[in-house]
Amino acid sequence: MQLLITIFLDGLTYASYLFIVSVGLTIVFGVLKILNVAHGAFYAWGAYAAAYAITYAADMEYADWIGFVCIFLAAAAVGVVLGMIIERVILRHMYAQDEVLIALATFGIFLILEDVILLVFGVNPYFAYQPMALLGRIPVGGISRDVYSFTLMALACIVAFGCWWGLTKTKWGKLISVVIYDREISQAMGINVSMVYLIVFVIGAGLGALGGAYVAPTLSVAPGFGIDVIVLSFAVVVIGGMGSIPGALIGALMVGILRAVAVHKMPELELFVVFAVMAGVLIIRPEGLFAPAKARTI
């Protein structure tokens, strides 16, 4: 029983981290129909901005809880600034292009942003452990767990609820749903599709940055931070269905739980299991588990 609880909580922790990072990627694909490779850079920039702000606050001897404020402010700043610049300056001019070209463009943006990180923040790692250390630990299932990981799970739930509520209960959510369904008709009906695209891209970038900002206190924020997360995010999004938020949630849970099982029982399969699940889903259901229905256009 102790082992089951531990595996479950480990899986939920990892799934929460994956979901927060992946949901932005799937939202951008769902609305803008672009595979945003630069999403890994938003994650890295969010982490660096948060780590920088937290260490600055610590040097100025502010209370440790200020670190949490720094996390959300950093994520918002990165999402708004980088998201707006990239969407307005580059992507807006490419929506009519082939999807592969757009993906290549976002890959180029990713490489540029990764190198700019070195120029802005340097090569030395940042340690912004204060928020995690502040919350301490609690015994659960016979071992000590950090309280911070439970707040990560709570944040994932808030993000999931926020996405659902935003899409189903707000005017902008309905507009986004319409644009997803048919961009041309939406435009013809007078919806400012360009503004919808901008807002969605900024939200997606912000969510990616939030994922990086929130995990920054748990590790050393160092160059190359965003590379691995792109691969994992794609795996989660592909499993769940590109463009599906419930799919990203289920995909993250599947990857998180299965990875935790592998770590506890067969550590040598830890990396394999993620991509084995992806391959299995693609064989059975190539569009992903919860891919949105597509209207056939004549």
Binding site: I7, L9, Y17, Y148, L219, D228, R259, H264, P267
Partner: protein, 439 residues
């Protein structure tokens, strides 16, 4: 008649030209004022901060000092066989395919005279065949896998850093001597050559040194640069093993320590870190006390405040003055490799009576024994191409007077105590119970 005469003249001219060409491309090397050497380390990526940049700094400091003749005696002669070194710093990040291309670029386009560097065992294993193919003198400064020379002997590849065998056996000896009551152990090591080898040799050594010890059936091997260890920490916490062995390096050790520290991991388990000293300096007072820490040699954290060696004194003071921080393990490892190259060049030049050829330098380097910053180094394995030296471990603490991390209960193990004799595979030597080990 005229045709025959012309033919003879032409034939003689052709022979004379061939002889002249052979003489020009023969064994005699032109004297040089400057040599160009590629210095490879991680300048970007997660390994840059804790390993690559300190390594590059160590090399840079020593190259500058040797060029100016500023090293303490007896190494205070100027230059490398009198020539000034012009280093070409190259980034080791980007994967093995990129590194092979960079290596070829350095050799074939930039015409370097030698290469020094490489931190990752993956890089070393990938570059060694290329070095042999291109016959370019390559001195590897850090990487730890013993497979570099155990799988195949090399003609132009050298390594001035001891391998995972010595590190692991020293760790096992330290644990059985200092903590004889801790019988059960597990591990968390990166899933590639270095991590796998470190765990393998630690387990083999423990089995022989303390037959009553028991290895866990579930050691962890996460992907290198993974960064997230929540599930691994849970697994290790549930494991009944009292000791956790780890060869984590770069940002992984820092991430692991931060995530484990908040969960009280180090209060419940005795953590043995083979090469985690970079995290001690990075995290400072935050780094947990009581961790068994190695530095892969007699330098860094274990000898920082030891003022008994003139060369070490000079290195620590000069490094701190130039870079504002103490030198760490990688700083020493790169400096040692550069020093070794200088000694090889000088020795070859003295023997040849002129500026040496690469073959003459290789012959001089083979089997050399020399005094480095942290102690004696012998190129005793791998046909005279692989270094052995003493390795130490200590227990981390915080020095309140110096306001810096430090280590207590430091013990060093001699090279002959922790390395197999030449010609014997490490696994076989361990299986036989380490016969002939001089401790």
């Amino acid at each position: 008649m005229h045709k025959q005469f012309a033919y003879k003249v032409l034939r003689s001219a052709a022979i004379a030209s061939a002889v002249a060409a052979a003489a020009m491309t023969g064994a005699t090397a032109q004297a040089k004022d400057t040599i160009k050497v590629g210095v490879v380390s991680f300048l970007t990526g997660p390994a840059a901060g804790p390993f690559g940049v300190p390594g590059k700094n160590g090399a840079e400091l020593i190259i500058h000092a040797i060029n100016k003749g500023e090293l303490p005696a007896p190494y205070n002669t100027k230059g490398f066989a009198g020539a000034t070194m012009d280093p070409v710093y190259t980034d080791e990040a980007g994967g093995n395919s990129k590194q092979v291309a960079e290596y070829r670029n350095l050799v074939e386009k930039q015409n370097v005279d030698a290469l020094i560097g490489y931190i990752s065992s993956g890089s070393c294993m990938a570059m060694a065949p290329v070095a042999e193919e291109l016959q370019m003198l390559t001195i590897m400064s850090v990487c730890g896998t013993p497979r570099l020379f155990e799988e195949k002997l090399r003609s132009v590849v050298f390594r001035t850093q001891g391998n995972a065998v010595g590190d692991s056996i020293a760790a096992a000896r330290y644990m059985t001597e200092m903590f004889p009551d801790l019988k059960t152990y597990t591990g968390i090591n990166q899933n590639y050559a270095w991590g796998q080898d470190s765990w393998k040799f630690y387990s083999l050594a423990m089995e022989k040194l303390d037959p009553a010890s028991k290895a866990s059936s579930n050691p962890q091997f996460p992907k290198i640069f993974s960064g997230q260890y929540s599930a691994e920490i849970s697994t290790l916490s549930l494991d009944k093993a009292e000791v956790v062995h780890s060869s984590f390096w770069d940002g992984d050790i820092e991430a692991f320590v931060l995530q484990a520290l908040v969960r009280g991991f180090f209060e419940d388990k005795k953590f043995v870190s083979v090469v985690g000293a970079s995290a001690v300096d990075s995290l400072g007072k935050k780094f947990p006390k009581g961790v068994v820490m190695g530095t892969r040699g007699p330098y860094g954290l274990l000898t920082r405040f030891d003022r008994s060696r003139a060369l070490n004194n000079w290195f620590v003071d000069a490094y701190k003055a130039r870079y504002g921080v103490y030198p760490t393990g990688p700083s020493y490892q790169y400096a040692k490799a550069v020093l070794y190259y200088k000694l090889g060049m000088d020795k070859a030049a003295a023997m040849a009576g002129k500026f040496p050829t690469q073959d003459e330098v290789v012959a001089a380097l083979k089997g050399m024994e020399f005094e480095s910053f942290g102690g004696s180094v012998k190129m005793a394995l791998g046909g005279g191409h692989q270094a052995i030296h003493e390795v130490g471990y200590g227990i981390t603490t915080w020095d309140k007077e110096k306001k810096a991390p430090s280590a207590t209960d430091v013990k060093f193990y001699s090279a002959e105590c922790i390395n197999p004799p030449e010609g014997t595979l490490a696994a076989d030597w361990l299986a036989q119970g380490m016969p002939g080990a001089k401790c």
